[in-house]
Each structure stands twice: as C-alpha cells, then as structure tokens.
Amino acid sequence: MARDMSMPEDSHYAKPPGPLSGKSKRGGGWTRYRLMRYYIVPWLFLIPILALHAFVVVFPAIQGVYYSFTDWSGIGEAKFIGLRNFEEMFFEDQSYIDALSRNVQWMIFRMIVPFTFALFGASLLAKVKRGAMIYRTALFMPFILPSIVTATIWRYLYNPRFGLPSLVGYDKALLGQSDTALWAIAFADNWQFWGFLMVLFLTAMQGIDPVLYDAAKVDGANRWQEFWHVTLPGIRPVVLFMMMMVMIWAFLVFDYVFILTGGGPAGATEVIAIDIYKNAFQRFEAGYAAAQGMTICLFASLVVSGFAFLRKRGWDI
C-alpha cells in the first residue's frame, strides 16, 4: 500500500478548497474568509518583494529588450530600427562571431579542466580523515579571493622573466601571444574555481551510503570501478546541475579577461561580454550592446531548456 503523504485536513499546509466552488457548508462568510486567507493575504505579503523585483529586474530587462531594437548611443533618444542590430550581429559582425566562439571554447575548457580537478580532488579528500579540514580550506581559499587579486597573482606567475615559464626555460609571455592567451586566462580562472566545485562534490559524496562501497569491495571492485560505478552515479545530480551552471556562466565571463588582457592580444581573448562593454562604453553603441546582451540570455535559456528536456526524458538532474 502506498504511503499517504498528504497533509491532514486541518494542517496549515492543507490544500485550500476552491474558493468559488460553492462546496462550503458554512456560507458566504466562510468562503470570503478562505479567499482572503489563502489567495489574497499571501499575495499581499509578496507585493513588496514583487515590486522590488519588478523595479530592479523586470523593468530594466524590458528596457533592455526594447533598446536591443534601437540605435542608441547610451544617452539621449533611442531610434527604433527593428531587427537591424541582430541582422548586423549574426550576418555582418565577424568580431561577434569570433567572440561567441571564444565563449564556447571557454565553456568546453571549464567543463573539462575544473571538473576533472574537482572530481579527482574530492575523491582523494573523501578518504582523508586526519587534517581533512585543512586541505579543504586550503583548496577552497582561492574561491573567496577577489578576481582582481587572483588575476594579479597569475599575471606575475605567467611573467617569462621571473614567473613559472622561466622555471622551465620558456621565455615567451603566455598572455602576450594570441594562441595561448585565452587558455592562460582560463587556467587562472580554473585555479580559483575548481576548489568550489570540489567542495560541492565532496559534500555530495558524503551523502552516498557507505554500504554501496562495501558491496562494491565485496564484488572485487578497484578504486576506479568504485568511483565510476558508485561515486559518480551518487553525485550525478550535483555534477549535472553544476555543468548547467558552468555552461551559463561561460557566456558571462568578463572579469579575468578584462583584467589580464582587456580582450587582447590582437583580439585573441575578446569574449562577448568584453565586446558588449566596448560597444556600450567606448563605441557609444548601447543599442547594439543591448542586442548582444539579449543573445547571452538566449544562450542561457537554450542551456536551461536542454537540461529541462533531459529531465523530462527521465534523466536524474
């Protein structure tokens, strides 16, 4: 027999009867009371936060959508030009297409390198009993550093005169070459980010039933087989959720690139957010920048929709 999970009728969590269903046996006054209690009062409590949300999120977002269809310098009057910005962006502006491709490269890097580091680190740390907190804190520490600090550290670490390259006899500046700069920035970003992922995975791993590991051992599984068949399935929802977030965040990357190269050298690290900044504040093309911003929303929506689709198909996300 299935467990009855429904709440008792007199519970605060009880589903209210339909206010206009006419099934109340206590007359119109009772119906009005229920209408008030379950449908009006909650909304009255929500009004302040909804108003705030509308003021700081919804209205600016709607404005952003509107400006994406205009020729606007960022100040003064905006001139409505329909889909012209989007037409230019997708069919004429090679720098936007190049920037988009760099965001995709950034996303791929972030889905491979920090995830690998974090899964590996979490698997090792899960076995550590003594001094575990010290390791965890040390590895998590970069995540709480401001990006300007981390970026400045890495700028010096990458210096070919006295940084890491000089230790291996490499005399070129990784941030100064168009074929290495993006990856050098991505690695600096990874150094800050992977500790955060590791802590999440570690927490998820602690929720796995130890009996499963015992059973795997009895079946003769080695460490790799334990990880593949027990650990990974056990933390899959967390891993997939973070993958979704990382995919979305990949389109928002700005700070490390802005601090370390400003989009250079020779445009080699120019991602969409840098392009947007340049268009809005240096070229005075805020309408076009708004249209570019809309595409970031579009890509994020596609990612979320993709995961929602997989979930509907029965994936454990």
Binding site: S73, G74, I75, G76, E77, R155, Y158, N159, P160, K172, A173, L174, L175, G176, Q177, S178, A181, I259, L260, T261, G262, G263, G264, P265, A266, G267, A268, K278, F281, Q282, R283, F284, E285
Partner: protein
C-alpha cells in the same frame, strides 16, 4: 499674552532666517566627482581649500572605482550626477552635448574672457556647431623619454631625424638593451599613442588634418607608409624586446626596467613627467640614473613636432542647480595661477592655457623646457593630433583595437586603414567628428 506673542514672533523670525540660510547654501552648492585615488584626493583637497568664493559651497565627492566617467555618464542620463561634469575628451563631450546633457558655456566664456585665456585650438575643441560646451583640461603629448645616464655611458646622441632614430635603435640593441617601452598589457586603448604619433610624425600633420576634415582618405599611401613603418618597428622588437611582452607586460614592469637602465627609452605621454622622478629614477627607483626627454623625430623636418591632446574635458551638466556658481568654479579652476599650483602640488598636467611669465617656476627644469618647446612648436604650426582628442569614438576604437591585429599579422595595413576609413565616413556623415581647429 504679550510674552507668548513675542516668543512666537522671535521663533518665526529665527525659522525664516534659518530657512533663508539653508536656501542660500543650497542655491550656491556646486558638486563635482573625482576619483578616489591619491591624485584625485590631492586634486579635490586643493580645489576645495583654495577656492576663494565663500558664497559658493564646493562639494567634491570622491568616487571609488576605475570607471568614473562611465558612472557619471549613466548618472547624467538618469537626470542626476555632479553639476560640473567631465569626460575623457572632446569626442566624449560631443556625445553628451548632442544628447542635450550639457549647458552651453558661450555667455560664461564672454563674461569671464575665456577666449583670451585658452590656447585658441583648445577652446575650439569644446565647440559643437559653433557653441562652446566643454573646456579642455590636461595638456598632453607623447614624447621619447630616455635614460640619460645610459645614453651618456654609451655616448649616444639625441636623434633629430627618423634615420637617426633607426641608427640609435640599432646601437641600443647592439649594447644588449631593449630599445623602448612601455608595454600595454593592462591598457588596450593605449595602443593609440604610437598610431597618433606616426600619423603626424611620419605622414605629416597637414595630411592628417586633411584626413580628419574629410579631404583625404585614410587609405592614402602616406598613411599606409606610416603604419607600415610603425608595424615594422613593433615587429622588430623595439617595444619591450618582443611582441609578446609588449602585449602583456605592465606599465610598472616596463617603467622599472627603464629606470634600471635595461630599457633605453620610453615612448610615453607627458603624464609620466611627474611619475618618473617620483617613482622610478634615483633613490625611489633604487638606482642612480637620470632621465630626460626629446621630441619624437619626423620624416620631414628636424624641428621638434608634437601631437597635441587633452586628457579630459569639463562642462556644466544640464541638471546643474546653480550653473552660474558652477561657471565661477570653472573660471577659478582654469586660472593660470590655480593650474600652476595644481601642477606643483598634485602633479596634474596643466590645462592648455596661455601661460605668461614664470608661472611654472617650481617645476622640474625638464618639464619647464617641455612646455616651452611645446608652446613654440604649437605657435609655429608644428603640431599634430592625438587620436583620443580628435578622432570620433567608433573610428578611434577601430584605430587602437585593430592596430594590434596589424602587429600580429592578422590583417594587412591596407585593410586596417580601409576599415578606419569606413568607420570615419559613417561618423563624418553623422556629424560626430570633434571640432578640428583650422591650421
């Protein structure tokens, strides 16, 4: 009863007096924003302390963050911001004026006689369709600083021609030193400095003037030669010894190496005049070296030439409560005596005013010589144009952004200049070219 009435009357009178006083202070309050940095703090303190009008309350608000101009622009668009507003230069102020966010300064210019006080080209920079909207600040040019001690050790002479500069560069490299800095790893727009100089010093100021006024295309062979020459010296490793270091090193790294004598010259702006002595040479720099400067040579004359520019421009916001008081502040700010004091105390570059007598008596002799030679060159017409003051915004972004692709061989010099011409034509048609003073 009488005493109650008396108390009431006195109270009302006191209230009226207080209200009038408050209204008076409010009526004469003028706000400005300044960067919350050492220089910004010094500048703000000096201005507030020395401003002589007691009937005007001057409120300088120090704002954190590096994008003060962007923040101010956003505030202005929203109907707020300071009464006296500033931006990076004429092309930025042109945008604000076109959006109706600045007040015309014409009648204040007449009232205070600014026309006789500013260098004529400088006042013209602030005009939009004949009306004055902004005042130029921080006179700037780009020069070649050199490590004088290193030059004397090797017996190198100051070149007065481009050929002489090439020969000097060869000698510097033979001595195992880097020809020049700085590096632009933390300042993408700074790539515009050298482009500006090569347009004027290689192609010539007249041709550059013609291009800026739409009489000559940027694809002209003279400009192709100029940019090709620039590309060649960059790819040849003049800057920082290699393209990768030019693209990635910081200012501090480059200036330190210059002070230490590992880099022989620094192709920098006059905003570094104060900094080199203060931070990188002699005791502060941990060395016993000295620096000096010379004008970047030209291909066509042995006389010193300079690109001219301004670091920022000031105007009065459309939303200013007390525009007359704001104009009085500007009038004080743009006095030769205040500019000299600001330069002396805070190291700020002086505004492009007509200075007479020994106003900069306290200045370093190298600086004094610069302003003298610069003034003489300007008077003789030996001046060109900095891109940040005279180029329209979109064309200027193309200029500094795409030149790095030229250096990296991603696009040709011809394509670079064709792209610049395309952007320029569009902005020219839209009336977005900053005022170019007639030669």
């Amino acid at each position: 009863m009488l005493s109650k009435r008396l108390i009431l009357l006195v109270s009302l009178a006191l209230l009226a007096t207080l209200a009038a006083g408050a209204a008076s202070a409010q009526d004469n309050k003028v706000t400005l924003w300044a960067a919350d940095s050492d220089t910004g703090s010094c500048w703000a303190r000096l201005l507030v302390d020395t401003f002589p009008r007691e009937d005007i309350e001057l409120d300088v608000v120090l704002q954190p963050g590096s994008s003060l101009v962007d923040a101010q622009r956003t505030a202005l668009q929203g109907g707020a911001g300071p009464d006296i507003t500033f931006s990076h230069g004429p092309s930025f102020m042109l945008e604000l004026a076109n959006a109706g966010l600045l007040l015309s300064l014409d009648h204040y210019a007449d009232e205070y006689g600014w026309g006789d006080r500013f260098a004529p080209w400088a006042l013209d920079l602030g005009r939009v369709e004949g009306s004055l909207y902004s005042l130029s600040e921080e006179l700037e040019t780009v020069i070649l600083y050199y490590n004088k001690t290193v030059f004397e050790e090797h017996g190198w002479e100051i070149p007065t021609t481009m050929d002489g500069l090439y020969a000097l560069a060869d000698a510097i490299r033979e001595a195992g030193l880097v020809v020049m800095g700085p590096a632009f790893g933390e300042c993408a727009p700074c790539f515009e400095w050298a482009v500006s100089v090569f347009f004027t010093h290689h192609a010539g100021p007249e041709k550059t003037y013609e291009a800026l006024t739409g009489q000559r295309p940027w694809t002209d062979p003279a400009f192709v030669e100029a940019i090709t020459a620039l590309k060649d010296i960059v790819q040849d490793g003049w800057y920082m010894g290699g393209l990768d270091l030019f693209f990635s090193d910081t200012f501090q790294q480059a200036h330190s190496l210059f002070g230490a004598g590992e880099i022989a010259m620094s192709f920098e702006g006059t905003w570094m005049l104060d900094n080199y002595q203060r931070d990188y040479f002699g005791e502060p720099g941990g060395n016993e070296n000295e620096w000096d400067w010379f004008a970047f040579p030209t291909t066509f004359s042995e006389e010193p030439h300079f690109v001219i520019g301004v670091g920022s421009s000031w105007g009065i916001s459309q939303w200013a409560q007390n525009p007359d008081a704001a104009a009085a502040v500007l009038d004080f700010y743009y006095s030769t005596s205040y500019q000299a004091e600001s330069h002396s105390v805070c190291g700020n570059a002086p505004a492009p005013l007509l200075y007479e007598g020994d106003v900069f008596a306290n200045a370093d002799p190298r600086e004094a010589r610069l302003y003298q030679v610069f003034g003489e060159a300007s008077a003789a017409g030996n001046y060109g144009y900095t891109s940040w003051s005279f180029w329209p915004a979109r064309t200027n972004v193309w200029l500094w952004e795409q030149i790095t692709r030229v250096y990296d061989d991603q696009i040709s010099v011809e394509d670079y200049l064709a792209g610049m011409q395309k952007e320029f034509e569009e902005e020219f048609a839209e009336g977005l070219i900053p005022p170019i003073p007639p030669r």
